[in-house]
Every structure is written in structure tokens, then in C-alpha cells.
């Protein structure tokens, strides 16, 4: 042990002081060496977390200058084109932040960019978790928390986007009011309560403000804390690889490697957001002008994460029901803005439980699935993303129309039909691709990979040399678990007692058969052994062509006996030996 420096001694004193009051050293003892597995895709959740922290830091700064008030004032700031114009105090103070507070625009743009990155990172992180099956037991709670976090992220983003009270965001609020008003029975009253009467009213900005800076971030912060605590206690999942099992964690210890890497990565994310915030304009509210309920600009687009809702609204046919000429049900708004997103998010939240029921899988999973090894799940994921993507395209139909010289009508009609046809096609195609990849994995295990080198044998035959795959790749491929679908239930058991749950079990059996259909079985140990001999033989034929300077980097089995100490090490030596033989 090296000598402790003065600072370390002081730190030790503090640790002891805190420990005697909290027992914190027990935690440090357990956790300073805690191992975290490494993979680039594990950064996605980190990006979400760090951009959220940047949102909190920059948002706090903004609250000091922003005034959540709809009182009309005459603008008298540095931005000349709007001088003397009547506008809400909210908009005026947002302009002040942009032009009269030094660094204000930088912080405002960092806040906006960080929020966009936060939501995007959550979405991509969710894809990673979905496609690798990380949501399986024991991590279902964390998946649920994640789905709630994504939803809260959307609300946080939209509420913040609306605060500057510029023309673009005000139009967004006007649409929100139209949607809320469409809710059957309570809609009209609910909008009056929200807006303190009719739209736009005098109070909505200040109400939205407390939602945006207190309620939503408070909930997000609480849930993020639980999310991370669960990751901590359950330990992170890991991708398959040599030595990695369902019972261990292979990776780097928290102190020092992960502290440096994860801590450093926070600064990377923070720094990049600051760079983008300083260099790339986002939401130039001064161009849009103050909100007026009877003005709008063509090509109005929401922030990216609201695009799917806007697209759904755009492509929906104009269905409306009048009940007894007395009440109105606006299907044209309810279906795209309430029912479809409701189904999308409920399905997302329930997916782990549905899959566990269908597969009958009750085991703990800490080793991640490769997406190809679960073709049905991967197919569902791609189908859902395609569905979302088509809605999103719908949100930009006017931009697409002008960019590609198409009519809005043809794009809308295409999407109305495509939304039902393309996602199922993508499901089937994805499943086929996954199965194809599984077959290729099987081939690689049995025949090695195609080296691309053609060899002429002494008797004239040409062969393409197959090289054995690396130990790492073999471990990854062998991580696949072959699962047999649930058996068909019996109507009566051996004693002749009727099975009361037959129908439910039958549904489960059929879904399970669908889920695991066409599994490409992993080769057996005997098959692999036989194949390895074959590949080694082929490789031995070609041995002289190798450069054996890096012989010790190649596993013993590769190239067979040629690597044994004392054997020829250069091509010339090997050639000589072969010629003699």
C-alpha cells in the first residue's frame, strides 16, 4: 500500500465521520469494486440521463429570467423588428433571454437541444432494451418505469415548448385545446378548467409553467432514481461472449474505470450539447412572432417527438358521430390523438408480461438475446417502429409534398392504406431476415467462415478455404437457447378430470407455437466437433500461405499441429517441409 497523502487522510477522516452517522462505508466496501459490463449500446441510457441533468441545470437558469405571465406588454428589447409590438410577458421575457441576457440564448438553446436529445436517447435506449430482451424477468418493473419516463418526457418537452408563447407553440396549444375538447362528456368542461375559461384565457402559461418546472421534472427525477437503483441492485445485463454466463457479470470495476468512463462521458454529452447550443439555432421564436389565435404560418411543424401525433391527426378520415343530434363524438380526433397513442403506449408497457405469458418463460435472464435469435419479438419491434414511422411521415406530409412535388391528397391516401399494410409486411420480412441470420450462424459454426481464398489442391481440385470462427464469435453464437413451444393442453387429465383452463391454455399454446415457429436449432456438440475437424483440415492444407509471425495470437486449434513449438515458423520453412512430405 502506498502512503496516503494529506488530502487522502482528510478524505478518510470525512468518510469515517459520515460512516459513523450513516454506515456509508458498508456501501462503499460493496460497491467501489462493482463490475459493469461494457458495450457501446449501454451508453444510450447514459445519454438520456446526462442530457436530463443538462436540462435541469439549464432549466434552473432559465427560470431566473423567464416570466410565466400572459399579461400584455409592449416589447422594448434589443431585437429591433419586434420593438413596440404588443405581446405577452412570457414571450417578451423569452426574447429578453435570447437577446438581452448574455449567454441566455446559449442556455435556452442548450435546454431545447438537451430536451430533444433526452427524448431521442430514451427512445433509442428503449429500442436496445426491447430488441435484446433486457426487459425480461427480473427487469419488468424497470421497463414499466421506462415507459412512464418516455411518456413524461413527451409531456415535459411539449409543456416547455409551449412556454415562450410564440406563434408556433401557441398554435400547438390551440390544437391541444381542440383535442381536449373532443373528449366525450367531460371534454368541454375539462378545457374550461385547464384554460380558466375559453381559449387562450389569461392563466394557461402560468399553469403550464408549474407543470413544466415542478410536477413533471419531480416525477421524472423520482422515477429515474428508482430506475437506476434497480439497475444497481439487479446488476446490468451483458451481451453474450466468452466466459459470460447468466450467473456472472464480466466487465470493469466502478472504481476507477467506470468512474472515469461514465463520469467522463457525462462531460462529453454536456460539452456536445453546449457546442450544439452555441452553434446551431433551435426554435428561433423571434422569427415566429407573438402568439395570435387567428394567425398561423404555413409549414407549421411541432418538435420531432410530437410529429407522430400530428401525423395521425392528419391522416385520419373525417369521421364524426352525432348521438340523437344532441351529442358529438369526434372520432376524427379521438382515434388519432387519444386511442391510437393509448394503445401504442399500453401495448409497450404490457409487452414484457404478454411475452412472458405466451412463452411460459419464468426464468431470470441476465444474458442478452441477440435480436436474430428471437425473430418474432424483433419482428414486432420493427412492426411497431414502422407504424410509428409512417405516422411520423404523415406529420411532415406538407413538407414532403412541397419537396417531392406530390399532392397532399395522394400522400395522405397512401398513408391511410400503408398504415395497415406496411407494418405487417415489415414483421414478416424482419422475421425472415432473422431466421436467415440464424441459418448463417449455424453454417458458420459448422463450416467456419468463407475466407474468400480459393485453393488448388495437388490433384487439381479447387476449394474455397473456410476458416474457423474466433472463440469470441463462437461463444456469441452458442449463447442462443433453443426453446420448444408450450405443449398442447389436454382436455382431460389421466384420471379423466376435465381441464377447466383448456381454452386459455390452448390460446397460450397456439401463440407460443407462433412465437417460436421455425426455430433454427443450434448444432449439437457432436456436430460441432465433427465440423471443427473438417475446418482444421482445410486450414492445414492452406497452412503455408499464412504469415506466422503472429502465430501466438492464433488459437491452437487454428491451423492444427502447425503451431506447436518447434514446428516451422516461416512460410519458406513450411513449404520446404511440405515438399519433402
Amino acid at each position: 500500500m502506498s502512503e496516503a497523502s494529506t488530502i487522502e487522510k482528510a478524505g478518510g477522516g470525512v468518510a469515517t465521520y459520515v460512516d459513523q452517522r450513516t454506515g456509508s462505508n458498508k456501501f462503499l466496501a460493496r460497491n467501489l469494486g462493482k463490475v459493469f459490463p461494457d458495450h457501446w449500446s449501454f451508453m444510450l441510457g447514459e445519454i438520456a440521463l446526462y442530457s436530463f441533468i443538462v436540462v435541469l441545470i439549464t432549466g434552473t437558469f432559465l427560470t431566473f429570467f423567464y416570466k410565466p405571465s400572459m399579461i400584455e406588454v409592449v416589447y422594448d428589447g434589443s431585437y429591433v423588428p419586434l420593438k413596440g409590438i404588443l405581446m405577452s410577458e412570457a414571450y417578451a421575457s423569452s426574447l429578453d433571454i435570447s437577446f438581452d441576457v448574455r449567454g441566455g440564448l446559449l442556455i435556452r438553446q442548450m435546454h431545447h437541444w438537451a430536451a430533444l436529445i433526452f427524448i431521442a436517447a430514451m427512445a433509442v435506449h428503449m429500442f436496445r432494451v426491447f430488441f435484446t430482451g433486457a426487459f425480461r424477468k427480473p427487469r419488468e418493473f424497470n421497463w414499466l418505469i421506462g415507459v412512464v419516463l418516455v411518456t413524461l418526457g413527451l409531456v415535459a418537452g411539449f409543456s416547455g415548448y409551449s412556454l415562450p408563447d410564440d406563434l408556433l407553440s401557441g398554435t400547438g396549444l390551440q390544437i391541444t385545446r381542440g383535442i381536449a375538447q373532443a373528449i366525450p362528456v367531460i371534454g368541454t368542461w375539462a378545457t374550461f378548467l385547464l384554460f380558466d375559461g375559453q381559449f387562450p384565457g389569461n392563466d394557461f402559461i402560468s399553469r403550464l409553467y408549474s407543470v413544466h418546472i415542478l410536477l413533471i421534472p419531480g416525477l421524472i427525477l423520482a422515477l429515474v432514481t428508482v430506475h437506476l437503483m434497480l439497475v444497481w441492485t439487479q446488476k446490468h445485463t451483458q451481451f453474450p461472449g466468452p466466459g459470460r454466463t447468466n450467473e456472472n457479470v464480466v466487465g470493469y470495476p466502478l472504481m476507477p474505470v467506470y468512474m472515469a468512463k461514465a463520469g467522463g462521458f457525462f462531460f462529453i454529452v454536456f460539452g456536445i450539447i453546449a457546442l450544439i447550443g452555441g452553434l446551431v439555432t433551435i426554435n428561433p421564436i423571434w422569427i415566429f412572432g407573438p402568439f395570435m389565435p387567428d394567425q398561423v404560418s404555413a409549414g407549421s411543424q411541432p418538435d420531432w417527438y410530437m410529429g407522430f401525433l400530428d401525423g395521425a391527426l392528419r391522416m385520419m378520415p373525417n369521421w364524426e358521430t352525432n348521438l340523437f343530434d344532441w351529442w358529438t363524438i369526434s372520432w376524427n380526433i379521438l382515434i388519432p390523438a387519444v386511442i391510437v397513442p393509448g394503445i401504442l403506449f399500453t401495448g409497450l408497457a404490457l409487452y414484457p408480461f404478454i411475452e412472458a405469458w405466451v412463452t411460459g418463460d419464468k426464468k431470470e435472464h441476465h444474458l442478452l438475446d441477440r435480436p436474430r435469435n428471437n425473430p418474432t419479438r424483433t419482428g414486432f419491434g420493427v412492426m411497431a417502429i414502422t407504424f410509428y414511422g409512417l405516422l411520423w411521415i404523415g406529420g411532415g406530409n406538407d413538407i414532403i409534398a412541397t419537396s417531392f412535388d406530390l399532392t397532399i391528397n395522394s400522400i395522405t391516401w397512401f398513408l391511410r392504406i400503408a398504415i395497415f399494410i406496411i407494418p405487417p409486411i415489415m414483421f414478416v420480412v424482419t422475421r425472415r431476415i432473422c431466421l436467415g441470420l440464424q441459418r448463417r450462424d449455424r453454417d458458420k459454426l459448422l463450416h467456419g467462415y468463407e475466407s474468400g481464398r480459393v485453393l488448388r489442391l495437388p490433384h487439381g481440385e479447387f476449394i474455397e478455404v473456410h476458416e474457423p470462427i474466433s472463440i469470441k464469435e463462437k461463444a456469441v453464437i452458442m449463447s442462443k437457447t433453443d426453446i420448444t413451444p408450450l405443449p398442447a393442453p389436454e382436455r382431460r387429465d389421466a384420471a379423466g378430470v376435465r381441464n377447466k383452463r383448456f381454452h386459455l391454455q390452448n390460446v397460450q399454446h397456439k401463440l407460443s407455437a407462433f412465437f417460436y415457429a421455425e426455430n433454427i436449432a443450434k448444432p449439437s456438440a457432436a456436430e460441432i466437433e465433427a465440423a471443427e475437424h473438417h475446418v482444421a483440415h482445410e486450414a492445414a492444407l492452406e497452412a503455408p500461405l499464412h504469415n506466422y509471425e503472429d502465430a501466438d495470437q492464433i488459437s491452437a486449434f487454428h491451423g492444427g499441429v502447425l503451431h506447436h513449438p518447434g514446428m516451422p515458423q516461416t512460410n519458406a520453412e513450411q513449404l520446404a517441409e511440405r515438399t519433402q512430405a
Binding site: 469494486g33 467522463g264 462529453i268 389565435p293 363524438i329
Partner: protein, 348 residues
């Protein structure tokens, strides 16, 4: 600590270099592991990044204090940008980024890159803990008498179920309607327009003579008294409902109207608020007399009583009957005959 392989304690101890906890996988050494000069170089790189970060923070402070907030600078690729925002973003971003880059360089080059294995432990509690928890629960249940005292149990559940109502009820006053004020649905169904009220252009507030409006022309208009009402009410609620557009077309082109003679010499007035979700509409195509909403592309045919020809809107665009007053200026002849803006439940 017990399940941790011990070697992480000896940073770069020579006997640990090249060691991999995972059998059969060779571990390649890094330059900095074998060459002390490479290690020194890495150390200098990391320190240089931290040093540069410090300098950039100082530069940020200087830029904050010296750059005029209104100054603009031309930067290739970026165009004309605010000097202050540009320089502050660049210095702050780079200063923070370099801390991260330095830390990661340190981790990658100088800290051990050998993976460590730790065991997982079963998450579920051991059976003994289950039994202890159950025993404690049973004891607590028995001691409290929760099962025995039926009356206490039921009244407690009742009290807990009721009290949140007291927290929710005060939300009713999120909207305080003035005494005698009509219901929300009635409020949504009336606008400022009434017989004889002058139509003025928005925003210049000039009254309009029919001859001022050429065929094919479109004008955004509001009631003459709107500004006054806005002043009194202190909000833009009245504007949201009363905004209209005036369009003049060849009277022969008008195929249908919402009421007989609601136009004036081919001038028709329609609400400006989309009946879908309430966006203001202003995209008018003279040739087809179609009005297109920029938000969700609902399209209305103004020559055909404002009926929907495409898009998600279910209701036609409400028409305002117009005429002229004795001075020859355009006026409304009544309020709209149906509610303007998005549908609502009580609308029928």
C-alpha cells in the same frame, strides 16, 4: 468485496498485464502497458486536455465580459451569427468536452483494460426471510386486531377513500365563471358578431367597402369592437372565435351557401378557425375556391357552402351572413348560425 477478483487493486502491476479472466481469449497489450514512453505520452495528453479546458473556461469568462451582446459575426458554414452566443457556446462546450475526453483517454490508456468477473446473486429473498416477514405480518395483524375489529377496518377504509375528494374538489375553481355566466357549451356557441356590426380588416382596422375587394381577393377581418373587448377582457378569447376571412368570387361561381343571400355581391365571409382542432386557416386557392388548413390539411370549398372536400375535419366552415350599412361598409347581419372552431361533446 469478496466476489471480486483481486487484481484490480494493483493498477498496472506487471504480473496482471495480459491477464484475462476469461479462459482462451488472448488479451492484447497496449502501448502504454509495455512502453513507459507511451505511458508518459498518454499522461501528457490527458493533462493537456485538462489544461486546455481550464484555459477555455477563462476564455469563456473573458468573452462573457467583453463581447457586445448585439454584435454579429460572419462565420463560414454558419453564416451570420450572434458573436456572444457563438463564442460562449464554443468555449463552454469545448471546456466541458475536454474534461470528458481527458477522463476517457485516461481510462482507456492508463487504467487496466482487463475485464473482471463478479458473480450474480439470486434476487429473491431466502425462504427464511419469507417466513420471518410472514411471521411479523401475522403478529402485527393479530396485535392490531385489524381482522377482528370490523367496524374500525371499514370506517378506516371509508375515511381513506373519501378524503382525497377534499383535495380534488378545490380544482373546480380552476375556472370561475362570472355570476350568471352561461355554460361552457353556450360560451363556445356565441361570438361578438351581431346584426349591423362593421367588419374591419386585421390588423389595420379599416372598414371595408365591397368595391375595395377585387375578385379572388382574400382579407382577414375582425369585428370593429374587438380591440375594445380585448382591452376589457384582457385576453384574446373573443378573437379566437370572431376572426373571419372575406373572399370575393364571381357570383356565378357560388354553387351553394349556408343561407340564402348570405353573400354580398359575391363576397362571402367564413370563420377563420378550422373546425378540426382549431388552427387558423389562411391558405386560399382562388381558382378552386378551396381553403386549406396549414396544420392538418383539412380543405373546405368556399364556393360550396364551406363544405369539407378533404382532410380530417368533419364539419363545414361556418359562414357569416353579411351585408352593407347605410354608409356602404360591410357589416355582419347576425352571429354565426352554428358554433365556430373544433367540435365539442354538447354540440350535437
Amino acid at each position: 468485496m469478496s466476489d471480486l477478483t483481486p487484481h484490480d487493486a494493483h493498477v498496472n502491476a506487471p504480473e496482471r498485464l495480459g491477464y484475462s479472466p476469461v479462459a482462451d481469449v488472448p488479451h492484447a497489450l497496449r502501448m502504454a502497458d509495455t512502453d513507459p514512453r507511451a505511458a508518459r505520452r498518454a499522461e501528457r495528453q490527458v493533462a493537456a486536455m485538462f489544461m486546455l479546458s481550464m484555459l477555455l473556461t477563462v476564455a469563456f469568462v473573458i468573452a462573457y465580459m467583453t463581447i457586445d451582446k448585439t454584435s454579429i459575426i460572419y462565420i463560414p458554414v454558419f453564416g451570420d451569427v450572434g458573436t456572444s452566443t457563438f463564442v460562449l457556446g464554443l468555449t463552454l462546450g469545448a471546456a466541458i468536452f475536454l474534461i470528458g475526453a481527458g477522463a476517457i483517454q485516461w481510462a482507456k490508456k492508463l487504467m487496466p483494460d482487463v475485464e473482471v468477473v463478479q458473480d450474480r446473486h439470486e434476487l429473491a429473498s431466502p425462504a427464511s426471510a419469507d417466513q420471518e416477514a410472514l411471521a411479523n405480518y401475522d403478529r402485527g395483524k393479530a396485535e392490531s386486531g385489524f381482522a377482528r375489529f370490523k367496524l374500525i377496518r371499514r370506517t378506516l377504509i371509508g375515511a381513506l377513500a373519501l378524503f382525497p375528494i377534499a383535495l380534488l374538489i378545490p380544482l373546480r375553481d380552476l375556472w370561475t365563471a362570472p355570476a350568471g355566466s352561461p355554460s361552457p357549451a353556450d360560451l363556445l356557441s356565441v361570438t361578438l358578431w351581431h346584426d349591423g356590426l362593421r367588419i374591419v380588416t386585421d390588423p389595420s382596422l379599416t372598414p371595408i367597402k365591397p368595391e375595395d375587394l377585387p375578385i379572388g381577393g382574400l382579407v382577414s377581418a375582425i369585428p370593429e369592437d374587438l380591440e375594445e373587448v380585448q382591452e376589457i377582457e384582457g385576453n384574446m378569447n373573443a378573437r379566437t372565435k370572431a376572426a373571419i376571412i372575406l373572399v370575393r368570387m364571381d357570383p356565378a361561381d357560388i354553387r351553394a351557401q349556408q343561407g340564402d343571400g348570405w353573400d354580398y355581391q359575391g363576397i362571402v365571409a367564413f370563420s377563420k378557425i378550422c373546425t378540426h382542432v382549431g388552427c387558423p386557416i389562411a391558405l386560399y386557392e382562388q381558382r378552386t375556391h378551396h381553403l386549406l388548413c396549414p396544420c392538418h390539411q383539412s380543405t373546405f370549398d368556399l364556393a360550396d357552402a364551406g363544405n369539407v372536400v378533404f382532410g380530417p375535419a368533419a364539419r363545414r366552415m361556418p359562414q357569416l351572413p353579411i351585408g352593407v350599412d347605410e354608409e356602404g361598409f360591410l357589416v355582419a347581419r347576425s352571429d354565426f348560425a352554428e358554433p365556430v372552431g373544433p367540435s365539442f361533446w354538447e354540440r350535437g
